[in-house]
């Protein structure tokens, strides 16, 4: 699923640039190729961290789609991200080092909004369990318009899409060689790719969760959120990290916190 998403992403991006683009299954071919390549490392232990990154990312997805606690899901997601960063630090090359630091900044930027999203969902549905949030009869963005918009904003950072592709960019225009993934090659790089597939399916699953009572609407929403991200990716140039951090926190404070504040006043009025 995630691989197909990545393939669709590359194809749609190519069409936006008036190119034909690679075949839909290209990401699978890439991963196949990476598995046939030699694995060059700086320190062997760096691959170990990436293995944990993948495992925890799968764990996050499993927790989410089996309907476990949303807070636990966020915790697992953060832990996965931390392992990725540790792996990049371990490689101790300047490029992967700066990439890892920028990834940390990106985590600081999106984490408040992600937590506020969970809190907002709790305020409406009175539960942190994904299972119970999914069975909530109404459409969540009606009560949480700010939180939903804020969450879409953080999706851009999580997907490492331009203008938020600070730590590592999939575009040719690079400033850090390949940023956080610079020192990974061969099979380890393939693991990173696969982990990103899991990550994108999980994140779009979360978009779906906002509309879970109307499955069709949810699918359309998840699809258009992904389309919006690709459009943003092709329209914007990269931001500086200060702007990413500030804008993400302003969005979290105004849209996320503001939305929750209004909700709590409404609950108080009742």
């Amino acid at each position: 699923m995630g691989g197909l998403l990545a393939g669709a992403d590359r194809r749609v991006s190519a069409r936006m640039q008036a190119r034909q683009g690679p075949p839909l299954l290209q990401p699978f071919l890439d991963v196949l190729k990476l598995c046939q390549k030699e694995n060059v490392v700086v320190r062997r232990s760096q691959n170990f961290y990436i293995l944990f990154f993948l495992l925890l990312m799968i764990f996050t997805g499993a927790l989410f789609f089996t309907g476990a606690d949303l807070l636990l899901v966020i915790f697992a997601l953060t832990l996965a991200g931390i392992f990725f960063i540790l792996g990049a630090y371990k490689a101790s090359s300047p490029y992967s080092f700066v990439g890892a630091e920028r990834e940390l900044i990106q985590m600081m930027a999106y984490e408040p909004m992600v937590l506020l999203t969970a809190v907002g969902m709790y305020m409406v549905t009175r539960s942190f369990q994904v299972r119970e949030i999914a069975s909530y009869p109404g459409v969540l963005p009606l009560a949480l318009p700010g939180v939903f918009l804020g969450f879409l904003f953080t999706l851009g950072i999580k997907f490492r899409k331009s203008p938020f592709d600070l730590s590592s960019s999939h575009h040719a225009h690079q400033e850090l060689v390949r940023g956080i993934t610079t020192e990974f090659s061969g099979r380890t790089l393939a693991l990173i790719e696969v982990a990103h597939w899991y990550e994108s399916v999980f994140l779009l699953g979360w978009v779906y969760l906002f509309f879970a009572s109307f499955p069709l609407l949810g699918l359309v929403a998840a699809g258009s959120a992904f389309g919006l991200l690709i459009l943003m990716d092709n329209v914007f140039a990269r931001f500086k990290w200060q702007l990413v951090l500030k804008s993400a926190w302003v969005v979290a404070a105004v849209l996320g916190f503001g939305n929750i504040l209004v909700l709590s006043f409404m609950h108080g009025a009742k």
Partner: protein, 161 residues
Amino acid sequence: MLGLKQSPWIVHYDASSCNGCDIETLACLTPLYDVERLGVINTGNPKHADIFLVTGAVNHLSKEVIRNIYNQLADPKVVVAVGICASSGGIFRKCYNVSGGVDTVIPVDVYVPGCAARPEAIIDGVVQALAVLERRRKAMTAAPQQLASDNSFKTEPLCRS
């Protein structure tokens, strides 16, 4: 085997080119030629790349850089020399600071002639390089201990797992 030939990632280095071949190389990525439809990605990172594409004649400053990048490419790898300068030194061949084509420093698999090399010729060179790449992979799986690339050039060993 599926994969390797459908997803060649390229690292491009300008040894001391006049930028003519560089512009033609980048032209391959534009909508007219769009090599990404063949799975080609222009990575900036030698550790992710399969094909090392060099333009321009080699001078004494770029020699070490070429050697360094070549060493960082993970096996199996191929080298494509784009343009007549990269192939043989071209008109700069006898300059006091030029050591000649890329093959004076690292083993070259495919030579793409031209001044500047046409995008069609570059794409053709890359496609020919894919056949070499596939051969290298087979040699590598047959004898994994022995590195598939030519070791007659002295290169410093990297830590490989």
